[in-house]
């Protein structure tokens, strides 16, 4: 190289593809598992752990498990794995609780209708969003309530005490999630308000509910509330739990949304204002879409926690999914060493399916909503 300071490029360097990465499984192993001595040691330790942990789990869940068709004697046999036959036998109880058996078609319609309405809502490209939303958020809850509880149109009356299982878990979590969104957003906006009264009320509400454990809320709702109410008034136990869970969730959601509001640059508020958009139009068209997009992971995190927390309603005597599993585990007919464990594995799996679905959906939504503004 000479030390010339002057240089003029006389040819344009054309674009070319990046150099290909070395392929082949051996190369992949070298690069990913055995790149350095410590990597190799970690890989070996990992394999040993898997060899130690996987076979017993496999044997319990599949290898030595008793599948539907098996009998309780099979489950009681020495070394038997999970007693899936028991889950199969009591499956209806886990789904419907004490709902009358001859009336199962009613929750079934609610399940099918709910799924048919919520799926197109979750698919952004599906048509008729407005009608779909009205049907799901307004018509479906009313229809579902009357169909399930009956007492009208010749349907037999089924008190909420008899509702149970997955049905109740889904009702509580869906109502909690759907009602806490608008409440949480309003609370978050209120907390940022310039009006001192609104701001103070919102702060007090949020801090009060966040400071109490959900168990306390549920206990108060179901045991203490009736003491303060005039005798004769009777608010449904499930309804009380629904209100408690919703208000609890909305306080948490409010704080997550507030985080999103604060993350927005002030210029967004100012640009909206300088165009003459009123507070609510600004909030609806400019602020919330961005703020909520920022906090989707936090919101879904809350929903997943809420979904699992619904199992706490069992302490006030509501038979949600986990409580039905627990109740059935003392079923003498199916008494076996693995009965309880199998039930809990089943319950865990059911919860996992819904939580995992929520998690994946939110990841997909985040990617979809990304308009590449992070430069």
């Amino acid at each position: 190289m000479t030390t010339d300071t002057a240089y003029i490029r006389d040819e344009f360097v054309p674009e070319r593809p990046a150099p290909g990465r070395a392929g082949g499984p051996i190369m992949w192993l070298r690069a990913n598992l055995f790149a350095t001595p410590s990597d190799a040691i970690l890989t070996v330790l990992g394999v040993i752990f898997l060899l130690w942990a996987v076979p017993p789990i496999y044997n319990f869940i599949i290898g030595h498990a008793v599948f539907p068709g098996g009998t309780v004697e099979d489950c009681r046999a020495e070394g038997a794995g999970a007693c899936w036959a028991y889950i199969y036998a009591r499956f209806n109880f886990f789904i419907y609780g004490f709902y009358p058996i001859d009336q199962y078609w009613r929750p079934n319609i609610v399940f099918i209708l709910g799924a048919a309405l919520i799926l197109p809502l979750l698919i952004p490209t599906a048509p008729f969003k407005r009608i779909n939303a009205v049907l799901f958020f307004l018509v479906f809850p009313v229809f579902g309530f009357f169909l399930l509880s009956g007492g009208v149109f010749g349907l037999s009356y089924v008190p909420t005490e008899q509702w149970g299982g997955l049905l109740v878990t889904l009702i509580i979590s869906l109502v909690g999630i759907i009602c806490s969104i608008p409440l949480g957003i309003l609370l978050a906006l209120g907390r940022q308000s310039d009006l001192p009264v609104i701001k103070t009320l919102c702060v007090m509400f949020i801090e009060l509910w966040r400071a109490m454990p959900l168990i306390t809320v549920l206990f108060m709702a179901s045991i203490m509330l009736p003491l303060f109410m005039p005798t004769g008034t009777n608010v449904d136990k499930l309804l009380r739990a629904l209100v408690g869970v919703t208000l609890f969730a909305s306080a948490y959601l409010a704080e997550v949304v507030r985080g999103g509001l604060q993350a927005l640059p002030r210029g967004q508020y100012e640009a909206g204002a300088s165009l003459g958009l009123s507070y609510w139009k600004r909030t609806y068209f400019i602020i919330l879409p961005q703020a909520i997009k920022h906090v989707i992971p936090g919101i879904v995190n809350n929903f997943i926690a809420l979904f699992k927390d619904t199992s706490l309603v069992s302490i006030v005597g509501i038979f949600d999914l986990l409580n039905t599993v627990q109740a059935a585990s003392s079923d003498i007919e199916w008494a076996s060493p693995t009965q309880a464990v199998t039930g809990y594995v089943f319950a865990a799996f059911m919860f996992w399916i819904f939580c995992f679905a929520m998690s994946r959906y939110s990841l997909w939504m985040e990617r979809r909503l990304d308009t590449g503004h992070k430069r």
């Binding site: 100012e270 640009a271 204002a273 300088s274 003459g276 139009k281 400019i286 961005q290 308009t371 503004h373």
Partner: protein, 266 residues
């Protein structure tokens, strides 16, 4: 600092279409004071802007230039004195504030486009929801202004996909879509790469040529020379000196102005 040389376009711009009204007051600021907490940011501001006037505000950072124009559309609140815009006095009354904001466009240093909306949606949001213009008409107007700022082909992209200069031109078009009677510019070229300053200034010059009432906070002295009727120099929250650009640049009176000009004109 991009210095613009004297061109024929400039001379014609000064002569044609840039009529300043002698009777129609666009903005009247009378004895205005503003504090941030205990900090006295704006002191005894008196400024009357006639319809069609183009005013450039210059001054060191922290002198209150941005705060002043932000008071004119009430992004900032003043504590004393009066601000009357298009005959409407700004008070705490939200209705009046919205009334003023509808007629006063603002362009920000950092563009402040809405990143979750396409360019076209950025331009049509306010006309549709503030003015109640039908969507198709709003889109036609939007395309008209995008053509004016020479980027109609970007209509369906998102702001994040555009260069800084393009984003600022979109921001100007967004304000124009509301068909404002006054435009405020808050250091519109300060956040731009040097190569992009010119394309934004060209749009601003063409606006000036059409007779838009403008107040620009800017350090582009070439722009000030070319289009301003008046240059205002601010320091420590006060208007220190104002004059027509020729005299302002060639014959500054106040010591502070002389110092400032010697720092930036080299």
């Amino acid at each position: 600092m991009s210095q613009m040389t004297e061109t024929t376009a400039e001379t014609t711009a000064r002569q044609s279409g840039m009529q300043v009204s002698k009777t129609d007051v666009a903005i009247d600021v009378i004895g205005m004071h503003k504090w941030y907490g205990d900090f006295h940011v704006l002191r005894d501001i008196n400024l009357r802007v006639m319809r069609g006037e183009r005013i450039v505000i210059a001054g060191p950072s922290g002198s209150g230039k941005s705060t002043l124009i932000r008071c004119i559309n009430r992004l900032e609140e003043h504590q004393e004195g009066q601000i009357i815009v298009n005959g409407t006095e700004l008070t705490a009354d939200l209705k009046r504030i919205d009334e003023v904001r509808r007629e006063v466009g603002m362009v920000f240093q950092h563009f402040n486009l809405f990143p979750h909306l396409t360019i076209l949606q950025n331009l049509t949001l306010a006309p549709i929801w503030v003015r109640g213009i039908p969507k198709a008409d709003a889109e036609a107007t939007a395309m008209h202004y995008l053509e004016r700022v020479k980027i109609p082909e970007q209509a369906n992209k998102f702001p994040g996909q555009l260069s800084g200069g393009q984003q600022q031109r979109v921001a100007i078009a967004r304000s124009l879509c509301m068909q404002p009677r006054i435009m405020l510019f808050d250091e519109p070229t300060s956040a731009l790469d040097p190569e992009m300053v010119k394309e934004v200034l060209e749009v601003m010059i063409s606006l000036a040529e059409e007779g838009m009432t403008m107040i620009c906070v800017t350090h582009e002295m070439g722009f000030a020379r070319q289009v301003a009727n008046r240059v205002i120099f601010m320091d420590q929250g006060q208007i220190v000196e104002q004059n027509d650009p020729e005299n302002f640049f060639s014959n500054p009176q106040h010591e502070r102005t002389k110092l400032f000009l010697s720092q930036i004109l080299h």
